[in-house]
């Protein structure tokens, strides 16, 4: 028993050693002499672990559940007949998938008349929808075609800026803005992809990252693009005036429509010769070319399509908040969308939807959870205060957790939560 656990114990001990100073000691600079000292601050480390305690508990439960499942067959009967197992087949069913985004996005609208959804919740859901569009778009390149794009937010910002800059000079009816962004975003993706797609996969990743960074810096430096504070649109009501709805409601509806359209487009392509060609390129580029798949064209198609989708999302963002800024294409944005795709499932549009919903909404919910508990007498009585506080702090830790999620998913479930189980074999053994 001990021999089996020894490597783990040693590993833990090692990790504890190398993280020891950062966790348990604090720097105490002496500014007068320009030197530095350290102080022993156990409270600091204890707070760190305390804030993460919810995560540890959840991890322990998952681990126990896993152990139980393996040794005692818990949940096996459940699993055998669950939708979860059939997910792959269910989703490929023609019309079933249309319902998912519809359910997610349309339900709140129906409650509008009874005041169920507040503007801020609508704002959150619109954002969730935008992230879903982005995740589905990125999934085309990363999941289906196997091209890692690290600067996806660059295209998002590109669309938003395109919209904002043209809005300064030309008025677009709202129904024209998105299609135009689709065309120009696709064009931008095409132009960037033309030289880049000849490069190896990891080079492509860095070049796209470079593109996003360069675009951000360019926008910060160009005076007509508003510099760092971005562009505040003179009039953000281009989406307004439809059927007496407010701007947030129209933006939400447009997002929902764009999301459904995106998923529709991507799924139709996926189950067509084009989609098969993408997967073939991901699986084996040389063989794909040898059976007549025009690899470069198909990659370009995937690349510019996903750029176009991001640009449309950017337009909706610009119309929703009425301003755009270079902060839109920070590296963290790209990483967040990538994490959504990976968590949800590479190559699976529904996985991407799921991942986006999870990674965007959970931290947001966690953040308002404490005050919601406080405001609700019944909940306030039940939930102990320390759990309430831990929820609040968890959203501070979300980047730490995103990083951990990306590693853990790659190690134990590379196909993502909803990805097909085939993908795992491919990711781990090549």
């Amino acid at each position: 028993m001990l021999t089996r656990w020894r490597p783990y114990l040693l590993g833990l001990l090692g990790l504890a050693t190398i993280t020891f100073p950062f966790l348990w000691l604090q720097l105490a600079p002496d500014f007068a002499k320009n030197t530095v000292g350290v102080t022993w601050t156990p409270s600091h480390a204890l707070n760190f672990f305390g804030d993460l305690s919810t995560v540890f508990v959840v991890a322990l439960l998952i681990w126990l559940g896993n152990l139980g499942n393996r040794h005692f067959g818990w949940g096996r009967a459940l699993a055998r007949n669950s939708v979860w197992q059939k997910a792959d087949h269910l989703w490929t069913d023609y019309w079933a998938w249309l319902i998912v985004p519809l359910l997610f996005l349309i339900i709140p609208l129906n409650f509008r008349s009874i005041g169920f959804v507040s503007t801020s919740t609508l704002g959150l859901l619109t954002f969730a929808g935008l992230y879903m569009i982005l995740a589905v778009g990125l999934n085309i390149t990363v999941g289906m075609t196997g091209l890692l794009v690290l600067g996806y937010a660059g295209f998002y910002a590109f669309g938003a800026y395109l919209f904002a800059l043209t809005q300064q000079y030309i008025y677009f009816p709202w129904w024209m803005a998105a299609p135009l962004a689709f065309i120009f975003g696709g064009g931008a993706g095409y132009l960037l992809g033309l030289p880049c797609l000849r490069l190896r996969g990891d080079y492509l990743a860095i070049v796209t990252l470079g593109f996003a960074e360069a675009f951000r810096e360019l926008m910060r430096n160009l005076d007509f693009a508003g510099g760092d504070k971005g562009i505040v649109l003179k009039d953000n009501s281009i989406f307004q005036g439809c059927a007496g709805l407010t701007n947030s409601q129209v933006c939400f509806a447009v997002t929902a429509f764009a999301l459904v359209a995106t998923v529709f487009l991507v799924q139709r392509l996926f189950y067509s010769p084009v989609g098969r060609a993408w997967i073939a390129i991901r699986e084996n580029e040389v063989a794909a070319a040898a059976v007549g798949v025009p690899v470069v064209q198909m990659k370009l198609l995937a690349f510019s399509l996903s750029a176009a989708i991001a640009a449309v999302a950017g337009v909706i963002y610009g119309a929703k908040d009425g301003f755009v800024s270079p902060a839109m294409c920070e590296f963290q944005q790209s990483i967040m969308v990538l994490a959504m795709v990976i968590l949800g499932g590479l190559g699976n549009s529904y996985g991407a939807l799921f991942g986006a919903g999870l990674l965007y909404l959970v931290p947001e919910y966690l953040k308002v959870l404490p005050s919601a508990i406080q405001n609700n007498d019944a909940l306030a009585a039940i939930v102990p205060s320390f759990i309430r506080d831990s929820f609040q702090h968890l959203s501070d830790y979300r980047w730490l957790l995103f990083g951990a999620v990306m590693v853990i998913m790659m190690l134990y479930r590379p196909q993502g939560l909803l990805g097909s189980s085939r993908r795992k074999t491919e990711m781990l053994h090549r």
Binding site: F264, L265, R268, L269, S272, P273, V274, R276, A277, I279, A280, E283, N284, V286, A287, A288, A289, A290, V291, G292, V293, P294, V295, V296, S420, R422, R423, T425, E426
Partner: protein, 256 residues
């Protein structure tokens, strides 16, 4: 009459190594031509030049009189030359059927509107693809595995799948890179039968093979390469007696 494939003094160099030198080859329709030679003779490089994976340094390749030198692989394939690989290159995550479906890419219309609307025409085309693919699988004897993951097929079956996939591109010339490698005698016989029946469908075949028995039974013509240089070319009986070939295969002393 123009030959199906013609190479004129085809050459390829890697650094200082002359992998293929001045190879002239003519393949007529409906014939099986084999390329043999010791290990490292440049056979696979020759194939890679033909199928567009390498750009040759010199010479030209004519497919049905059309110059295809330096064209990218997918164009070469679309012009009617398809190939299999020595180290099998399937699409592991796809099913057997999907592997064959991919190969029909060039024959399918991709007009966006029917594709997005799933118009009756598009659906009919998809059904046609499926039927055709099943036909090819049936031809190589894999119909029963259509829904299996290609990576889980047995080795010999994977070779057959590669052939089915190559056939699905509707080539006029098929390049087979060691189709019988690693097979037992029975499987080899089956493979020979399969190759003959492919020829019977009206295709020309260019074959790399180490198994002399296979080569001698089915080839109409044999090209022998040694260190990238063509040293003999002709009917099997002619090649078998060629002293240079014997020397290349067996070494200096014995041929003397």
């Amino acid at each position: 009459m123009t030959p199906l494939l013609e190479t004129r003094s085809l050459s390829k160099t890697f650094g200082g190594l002359k992998a293929v030198q001045n190879v002239d080859l003519r393949i007529e329709a409906n014939r099986i031509v084999s390329v043999i030679g010791p290990n490292g003779a440049g056979k696979t490089t020759f194939f890679n030049c033909l199928s567009g994976i390498y750009r040759p340094d010199g010479g030209s390749i004519l497919l049905e009189g059309r110059d295809i030198t330096g064209r990218p692989p997918h164009q070469v394939c679309q012009l009617g030359l398809s190939r299999t690989f020595q180290n099998i290159r399937l699409f592991p995550e796809m099913t057997v059927l999907e592997n064959v479906l991919v190969a029909q890419f060039q024959h399918r219309s991709l007009s966006p509107l029917p594709l997005l609307l799933h118009s009756p025409h598009f659906c009919a085309q998809e059904k046609q693809s499926r039927d055709d693919a099943l036909g090819f699988l049936d031809f190589v004897g894999l119909a029963q595995y259509a829904d299996t993951l290609s990576s889980s097929l047995a080795y010999g079956l994977q070779r057959r799948l590669e052939i089915a996939r190559a056939l699905a591109t509707r080539p006029r010339l098929l390049l087979l890179d060691e189709p019988a490698a690693g097979m037992n005698p029975q499987e080899t016989i089956d493979m020979v039968r399969l190759i003959s029946s492919i020829r019977d469908r009206g295709l020309a075949i260019l074959l790399i093979e180490h198994d002399m028995k296979v080569v001698m039974t089915i080839s109409d013509d044999i090209l022998v390469l040694d260190h990238g240089v063509p040293i003999a070319h002709g009917a099997p009986d002619h090649v078998r007696k060629d002293p240079q070939v014997i020397k290349a295969y067996l070494g200096e002393e014995i041929s003397n």
